[in-house]
């Protein structure tokens, strides 16, 4: 089987401007949403209590809300979680109420209505812990970005590093933007997914740039212009890019379908990341490199004395 029967290089760079405009627009929408709607931060970051309880039959959310109101939580969020029998209760932080007692109180109150209610999970995060998790998350994002730029600068050239990180941060912003637009809960696992995607989709740029470098160093391809070389590199690696992402996406889909509510948003973040990753790291990063003015000299230097094994089999 062969899916990619491409006769000649696809002139991606001719449409570079269009790709970047599309990117810019989606990016601005994401930023706009983040600025105006903000994120629906999970309990990990805001602090507060989340409880998951299970009933033997379909739960009556109204009654549960009344119970919460009796405890003084009029602003508690009560919703079904996965099935109609599972309920997720979110309680905000309350000054002076000890966490230790809170979950017990809630369970006692719920048992009054239905003795068979079962406690499945409690998560309490104090205010300072939430702030720390948020700070550490932001720090992780910063360090991962810097680390990747440094690595690519060392391995290739600073232009590649900068282009890659712009493309991938734009991915990150779009994932986070989606969570903002749809007001999906942004939790610690989602943050982990975002960072993993940052590391992962850099791969694409690496693979393409690797090819770019190879072509630059290939004597037989001296006649090609920079956009032509980039086009060639993208076309040559396209099948691999799509197959690899397809495989990773198969796995992520499996998590999306079978992972239940717990892994759903984690898998969702990965899905968005993978889809945008293909696009941005190839079609956003490459034009940026081009515009940053990458040249044969940038990459050819270390390979001035050619190794005997490299005869340049690539056409």
């Amino acid at each position: 089987m062969e899916w990619f029967r491409i006769k000649r290089d696809i002139p991606f760079m001719r449409y570079a401007l269009i790709f970047n405009v599309i990117s810019l627009v989606t990016f601005l929408i994401a930023v706009g949403s983040l600025a105006f709607r903000g994120l629906n931060l999970g309990v990990d970051f805001t602090g507060g209590t989340v409880m998951e309880v299970a009933y033997a039959q379909a739960a009556e959310l109204g009654k549960i809300r009344e119970s919460m109101a009796r405890l003084g939580f009029t602003d508690a969020s009560v919703q079904n979680f996965g099935t109609s029998r599972d309920v997720l209760i979110r309680l905000p932080l309350k000054q002076g109420v000890s966490s230790a007692k809170l979950s017990e109180q809630v369970m006692q109150e719920l048992r009054k209505d239905d003795a068979r209610v079962e406690m499945r999970r409690v998560e309490f995060v104090g205010p300072q812990v939430g702030r720390e998790l948020l700070e550490n998350g932001a720090l992780a994002l910063l360090f991962v970005s810097l680390g990747i730029v440094a690595y690519l600068a060392f391995r290739f050239e600073w232009k590649f590093g900068v282009a890659t990180i712009i493309a991938n941060l734009h991915d990150t912003v779009i994932i986070v933007g989606c969570f903002s637009i749809f007001q999906w809960e942004f939790s610690l696992p989602v943050l982990a997914a975002v960072l993993a995607i940052l590391g992962y989709s850099v791969n694409e740029s690496v693979v393409v740039f690797d090819r770019v470098r190879e072509v630059f160093r290939n004597r037989r391809m001296r006649s090609l212009t920079v956009p032509q070389i980039i086009d060639h590199a993208i076309t040559a690696t396209m099948s691999r890019t799509i197959i690899t992402h397809g495989c990773t996406q198969l796995m992520v889909c499996s998590m999306l379908v079978f992972g239940g509510e717990t892994l759903f948003y984690f898998a969702l973040a990965l899905t968005i990341g993978i889809l945008f990753g293909i696009y941005s790291s190839v079609l956003v990063a490459s034009p940026i490199v081009m515009w940053l003015g990458v040249s044969r000299e940038d990459l050819a230097r270390p390979e001035a004395q050619k190794k005997p094994g490299e005869t340049g089999a690539v056409v």
Partner: protein
């Protein structure tokens, strides 16, 4: 050119066998067990204890499927949880207070695997159910307590040397001593600096008053904080032992935090209650004259407590006026056991004091024969007079018995609290994660299913698209999972749901390396290279690219690990290890298979890598 030497094959085979050996224990599952652990250092888990446990179980007609003895405990396996629960109750009642009897799960893997160190991974709380607490130690309170104790030392030293001062008090974190004249202050200054080197001393004058302001030196403060944290961890460990939890985790996190993880604990209310207790014991003298005067008592109940006294209620409800000055605190208690009074037969608590405590107690009882002494228990900030007996004679040797209006259960509880000791500083739960057992089981299923179905889908795709090379890629991918799980088992890592997601994601990402290689080989074939040359070039060229792409993911993984907490850390560990193992399995293991299969053939016409499409002329494709 596509050949590995014998030792290369041998190395790869050896790693595969090792991987298999260390992965296998995870598939044997776990059986319910009861773990018996001596509670005090004097008692040992030995053959005698094992015999006793077996004996008790035989008499109770609860046949265990196996009893093993290890360094710290005796563990008995049971066929089902029902027998396990019954056995726990039976053992607890028969062995009594000296042993911790806890429910546990033991790996069902054969013993020879355990002897080579092949043990299953720990299951995290989200997979097996349990409680996770992050507790913050109130360091300000710890320092305040230390300052208070030091203040007593200063007072004692000055009195001993007959250095007259007009007042001594704690003001915030400082001790302020007032003197009438500079000469006396100078003497005081010398005395304090000689006896208490931990204090930083400053002098100040205010009108006719000469003061010494003493604060703890920064090193001393640091030492106090470290000590408080250690003391709290020890105390928590003692308390958790009383709860009967198998394999609790109690660890320091950062400078002022403690992580407590109790796997399998269902009764979270009780756990929080026991952890949150701050019971301290104090021995003080009763102000007999005031207590026996009804008018003074009435005034005290109305709020006018005589100077230097405090009002507490006895267990029966009778008010008692107790001196503020503390004779002894709970820190001096070595051991406390419930029992019965020798003469009256009432329930009682027998206390054993340490050397200093015994000496102080001896001295105080000698000087106060005929007077009453109160034993106060402070729990959750409220004090109560447990008992206030009359001192009939001096009590040497540090053996004290408390009795009076207690039930057997109360005696038991008081003994437990005293033994578990006091916290050096108050603690607060700042993070809690509790997972019920049913959710834990469901999470395992979820994690396993999503990994398995994803893996199956990738396998089908790869084999259809790349034919034999697809099969080889999938075998390499399986080897990758094998290495990853083996490595995690060797490190005795804790597997959590994010960790399982990490395994799934690693599988999805690791296939990248094989796709890269396979695509490259196809490309080389397309360009008209011979199959052998194509295979060689494919693997050779792909290596660098794979390394590059893995390293960027590794950068993300490392920072996730460094900055992440709890579940994210687990994910990061799996991600990092998975990348490292994939570099080996995707390249070396798959290459070994290709070499083995194709490497020895001189005239290789085609390779089974699916259809290779050539744009120029269709000169026949490798099928």
């Amino acid at each position: 050119m596509n050949r590995y030497s014998f030792w290369q094959y041998l190395l790869i085979a050896a790693t595969l066998v090792l991987g298999l050996l260390y992965t296998v224990p995870n598939f044997f599952g776990e059986v319910p067990a009861v773990q018996v652990q001596p509670h005090r250092a004097a008692l040992k888990a030995d053959a005698a204890l094992m015999g006793r446990v077996e004996d008790i179980l035989r008499k109770g007609s609860l046949a265990p499927t196996g009893v093993v003895l290890d360094a710290t405990s005796v563990k008995a396996r049971f066929p089902d949880t029902d027998a396990q629960l019954k056995a726990k109750d039976l053992l607890q009642s028969q062995l009594g207070e000296d042993y911790v009897v806890a429910l546990n799960l033991l790996s069902n893997s054969p013993r020879w695997l355990a002897t080579i160190g092949a043990l299953p991974m720990y299951l995290g709380l989200d997979l097996r159910g349990g409680v996770h607490f992050l507790m913050q130690v109130d360091m300000k309170a710890a320092i305040a307590k230390k300052v208070e104790a030091t203040l007593n030392d200063v007072r004692g030293n000055l009195r001993e040397k007959r250095i007259q001062y007009t007042g001594i008090a704690r003001e915030g974190q400082a001790i302020v001593v007032r003197f009438r004249d500079a000469a006396m202050r100078e003497k005081g200054l010398q005395e304090i600096s000689r006896t208490l080197p931990d204090l930083e001393l400053k002098t100040a004058e205010d009108g006719s008053e000469f003061r010494i302001v003493a604060t703890l030196k920064p090193e001393a403060q640091k030492k106090t904080q470290e000590f408080s944290l250690q003391q709290n961890i020890t105390t928590l460990r003692n308390r958790i032992n009383e709860l009967g939890v198998a394999e609790p985790i109690i660890q320091q996190q950062g400078a002022d935090r403690v992580v407590v993880q109790l796997p399998g604990v269902q009764d979270t209310a009780k756990a929080k209650d026991i952890l949150g207790r701050t019971a301290t014991l104090e021995v003080r003298m009763v102000d007999d004259d005031a207590t026996n005067n009804p008018a003074v008592i009435q005034a005290a109940l109305a709020g006018q407590v005589p100077f230097g006294d405090e009002l507490y209620l006895e267990r029966g409800g009778a008010p008692v006026l107790v001196r503020r000055q503390v004779v002894l605190t709970g820190d001096r208690i070595n051991d406390a056991q419930p029992g019965f009074d020798n003469q009256t037969g009432e329930p009682a608590v027998h206390i054993n004091l340490d050397g200093t405590g015994a000496r102080i107690f001896h001295q105080v009882t000698r000087e106060n024969v005929g007077k009453r002494m109160a034993i106060l228990l402070f729990e959750k900030g409220k004090g109560e007079v447990v008992t206030a007996p009359v001192i009939r004679s001096e009590i040497p040797g540090g053996r004290v018995q408390i009795s009076g209006r207690m039930t057997t259960q109360e005696a038991h509880d008081v003994a437990l609290l005293l033994r578990a000791g006091a916290l050096a500083a108050p603690m607060e739960i700042i993070e809690e994660r509790t997972v019920g057992p049913s959710l834990g089981a469901e999470n395992i299923r979820i994690g396993f299913h999503s990994t398995w179905y994803g893996f199956a889908a990738i396998s089908v795709y790869m084999i259809v698209y790349y034919a034999l090379f697809g099969v080889i890629s999938i075998v390499a991918l399986t080897a990758n999972v094998l290495f990853l799980v083996a490595l995690l088992s060797m490190l005795q890592a804790t597997l959590t749901l994010p960790g399982m997601a990490g395994i799934a994601l690693t599988i999805g990402m690791a296939i990248d390396a094989n796709v890269l290689i396979n695509e490259r080989i196809r490309e080389e074939l397309r360009n008209g290279n011979t199959p052998q040359a194509a295979i060689h070039a494919g693997y050779d060229r792909a290596w660098g690219t794979i390394l590059d792409s893995n390293l960027t993911t590794l950068i993300a993984g490392v920072f996730l690990f460094l900055l992440g907490s709890g579940p994210v850390k687990g994910f990061a560990v799996v991600l990092c290890l998975g990348i490292l193992t994939s570099q080996f399995s995707a390249v070396m293991v798959s290459r070994a298979m290709v070499n083995l299969y194709y490497g020895s053939r001189r005239r290789l016409e085609k390779v089974s890598i699916g259809q290779v499409w050539r744009p120029q002329a269709n000169r026949g494709a490798g099928a």
